[in-house]
Assembly symmetry: D2
């Protein structure tokens, strides 16, 4: 890291910085400019960098501490230059391969889930989504069916052959999800639930990690590093919109942030146009935009009867609209050179 | 709720809205204006309001659905007009009573914690804080001492008589925290961890609920409602800054939002100037500002040697600076009519 | 508008609201629900709606005032259902027609501008952009060549046949820009410079109105209404990113907001991927994403030698990269059914 | 500035950076760390720093360019350590002196303005505010009386002796405002209207510069530098809230940002609790909070009959509430050691 001394820092101030660095085992390097002196800290990272940067900030004469290295390693392109391919069941994401995940916001009944699963399979999805544990912002809203939902999802997988991704909302759900599903999703509100991240990492399952609604790309990648540092690199990131002052959409889908993140990390990144926009009329254009921008997949909510859905009615596509969208996705994918994955029905 | 039809809505569209309302057991009321027709839904809330609003949005001709009632009840001023007084041990917060909570960011050693506890007691704090389970954004940072930290906090309470508040980061920590501490804190990153909210509610302990970094006041109060709906109304809200585009401070402390929230809820609200600003030079002015604005308490980080702290060095006050601040807090409290709580040493 | 009375509003409070409405010439309509009474104000808008809503808020018992109609008219889809086609010279934007505007951030020299103009013409742009008056955030930065730049742009138009769009930063620039250019751009920082909006409206020129960096879609459309209310509906909106907490990109490009805005307004909307992202590597993916999402055009910065540009080097494409991008734009446009406009060279 | 090379930068890449620095007349300094090489650029600022930083970003192997010096000089504490005192008429702001500016949002009639002026004088304000040119977000709203309003303000000054501050919305208003008023205000929407900033600087009048609603503190100080670089250092900054996702208040008042800004600049900073919160119930607590936090003044809207105001009714205090507030301001100022300025009536 680089310590910027302020204009009035004395030699004694600089000496204090040097002593703190030496005490922590860092080499240093002093550069005296016309208006500022800089002290560079050189050495092997020791797991206390953030703490040391904070401690340096308390010293007299220190104006700023500028980190030079990024705060993540295993998930970075420096660690691995080539984009990873991550599999959910036999569906591949990354390194040009683009998969469509679809299904209802929430598992409500077996009938509804099977209807959705059949429809998305027929239209070309390679993976089924569906919520079992719903993080609802009001205690008076429907909270999901829990394990019963997981069983229904497993039935739908058996019938359609589509691998299943579903959210674990708490550490206590991880084993259950692992038992029934093919990938474990960590929701936006849990992106910095570190116990859950670690538990997901240790599960060994593929993890879909949604970006927190107020998380920078850097924080998102640090959350992925949590999972990776538990030995699990089967991580798919999912951009799902950030919170901004704009309310005409539910959140602000950050496609440019997704592209910028892909330059930083080798992990595949998919996009959720349903939660981010909150309205079905925006889902199709944002799906196409995501693929044109280079997303490795898209996760779309589809419900047999959106007007009867127990949650997020407004953002779920009908099977018919999903099918139309998939036709457009196919044309677009060809035009932009994306290798759109197909399911067994199409293959 | 009020359904606003768009300018081209037909009689049939209006009829569909009416039918959906009737099917859910709501009365309705149609108001035909010059440019828009409004349909009012009248009836007893039924726990599916959010879902119904979403479903209505999928109908032809519906432009918007405007909720009329707030999405929280037990914590609202409508439910209880007078501000609640909530106790942590014998320290009171609310209805004019203002308490100062202080202590280190993290429990590092018994020596460090006892030194901090004695210093904040001597200066006038009525409650001790200290982190046992730290939500750190990097997997390579110090994560807290866990149960050992809780034991140290209990020792510090025994010696100083100060009640203890500490964070539970996960459902699995709730029982442990309940065993050792006087109040359970839910951190900003967990404000929408609904399992944790429910578990905190069921614990029966006083809960300090921090505002999420991207949570609106409404969402914050809905999170409090989660706790309250579990039968526990001993809730103290804590404003700790929201995420904005401004980075000169770590977060943006929203004191006006705190005052606006106090108009909505009878729960006491305290302010955390340490995490919100991220720098000790801002902690004193923001403490005074919070009390002048009507906060029911302030939670301040104090460390015997901030430059050696294992986390958040830059934002922790020295005991000496904390004492100076407390002198100013006393003058200010008198001037603005706040009933500043005193600890046993002062009483 | 709808006035929501609070739970404790008395009959007298409601009467005061009714009297204020009657005094302003509005009819009213009272709806008494179980928990709230609503008063609807019905009547012809009178140019003082915003003021009246504020005045109602000062009355006892009033909880909220909910506007029902949108605060813009001429630019809305209600006023005109079909998307407008707006021409800059002979380049068309809107109703399926998609045009690419390109050129340097700033006019630096005649040589640089002509080189850029020839390159973007050859690659397929239909319109030339270039800054004459630059809104720079530091007084020590290059401010643009002013009228000399306008003359250079006119020369470039003469040689290439490309119509020219350039920014007027102040009311005093409007006549000058009108003399030399084919369309007048209003920059993001000036979106609420109402004198400039009015002056642009009165100029009768086509206006490219950039979205303010902290403007909601509603505020953006209200700014367009300012221009339209001066009698000029030749307005092209330009999404160029909003300010959020994310800094990995310069601003956050809001493509979903663009699509949502297109549902509200009949005006064509183009996208500026250069200023919004701030880095050339993001310009190509965001150009493709914009067209896939349904943008009516894209405005791209191209410089013959970006590494020598006097401003915004990092976001300007080389002619070679721009040509590659245009090849991809052509494939994509065919796939998504966009009618990509061609210039005279291609036609 | 410091150029951070990426992990794969070659010696040739570093050489290209060095050559660009040398060509611009900078010395350089290379520091090779374990994982990154840093190149320091040392030299006299040359007015093209921002452009050069951008150009460096286009070179191969360059990961980031970190500016070391701040982008403002004249307004910084480095340039002048002691806080400035700025006078509006004989009212002083800064270096401990705290003044209250009050008056109506907009000048509506002579009667209304005189009533407000008398009331705020009687209660203890030292300066009168009132809008002549209103920046309204809708073309259908009241736009202000223009020069007639300036004449009314001059009359109010004559009668009460209070100096007058009012906004110039456009360069064309500057001379008019200079003729009638004692200080010129630049509104939040114009904070980056560089022509207006320069014109205000050249007017030689005291300038009240409001923070833009999406401006960082750094950008705000850069805007002040624009004025200062025109030779005018009689600048009072005014914090008036920033745009965030929170809508329970109109904007988010950033008091901690104000304190952080005061550490950077010697200019006095006042706070506008009226526009920032948008509701009169929040104005009093935020006024007290601002003074407790160390603001050099507060600007408050007061209207003889808020419920009849032509704009911003909801945020204007009645004379009676303003008087109560001033009583509290006096107690608080004594407690926190602020030197509250008094007008001729009180002196």
């Amino acid at each position: 890291m680089m310590i910027v001394m302020n204009a009035k820092a004395t030699d004694g101030d600089i000496q204090s910085v040097v002593e703190m660095l030496e005490a922590k085992g860092y080499d240093h390097h002093i550069s005296r400019g016309v208006e500022r002196t800089l002290v560079g800290a050189i050495g092997t990272p020791d797991g206390e960098k953030q703490a040391m940067a904070e401690q340096l900030m308390t010293l007299n004469g220190v104006e700023r501490v500028v980190p030079i290295l990024r705060p993540y390693k295993l998930v970075s392109r420096e660690h691995q230059e080539e984009t990873s391919v991550v599999y959910i069941g036999d569906a591949a994401f990354g390194r040009g391969k683009v998969g469509i995940i679809a299904g209802p916001c929430t598992v409500e009944t077996e009938e509804q889930t099977l209807a959705a699963a059949r429809a998305v399979k027929a239209a070309g999805a390679v993976c089924l989504r569906g919520g079992a544990f719903k993080p609802r912002t009001s205690p008076y809203d429907f909270q999901g069916l829990g394990e019963d939902a997981l069983k229904i999802l497993a039935t739908a997988r058996e019938e359609t052959g589509l691998p299943v991704v579903t959210e674990a909302r708490d550490v206590s759900h991880v084993d259950l999800v692992a038992e029934y599903a093919d990938a474990l999703q960590i929701g936006a509100r849990n992106m910095q639930n570190y116990d859950l991240l670690q538990s997901a990492g240790e599960s060994g399952m593929p993890v879909v990690l949604k970006r927190g609604l107020s998380a920078t790309v850097e924080e998102w990648l640090k959350a992925a590093e949590y999972i990776a540092s538990s030995g699990n690199l089967d991580i798919i990131l999912c951009e799902r919109g950030i919170r901004t002052f704009e309310t005409i959409t539910r959140f602000t889908l950050d496609l440019a942030g997704m592209v910028a993140a892909k330059q930083e990390t080798h992990l595949p990144i998919i996009v959720d146009p349903s939660h981010s926009t909150g309205h079905y009329l925006l889902v199709s254009p944002m799906t196409l935009a995501a693929i044109a921008a280079g997303a490795d997949g898209v996760m779309i909510e589809v419900h047999p009867q959106p007007d009867r859905a127990l949650c997020d009615s407004a953002q779920q596509l009908t099977p018919k609209n999903f099918q139309k969208l998939m036709d457009n996705v196919r044309s677009l994918s060809t035009a932009v050179g994306a290798d759109l994955q197909r399911n067994s029905e199409e293959a």
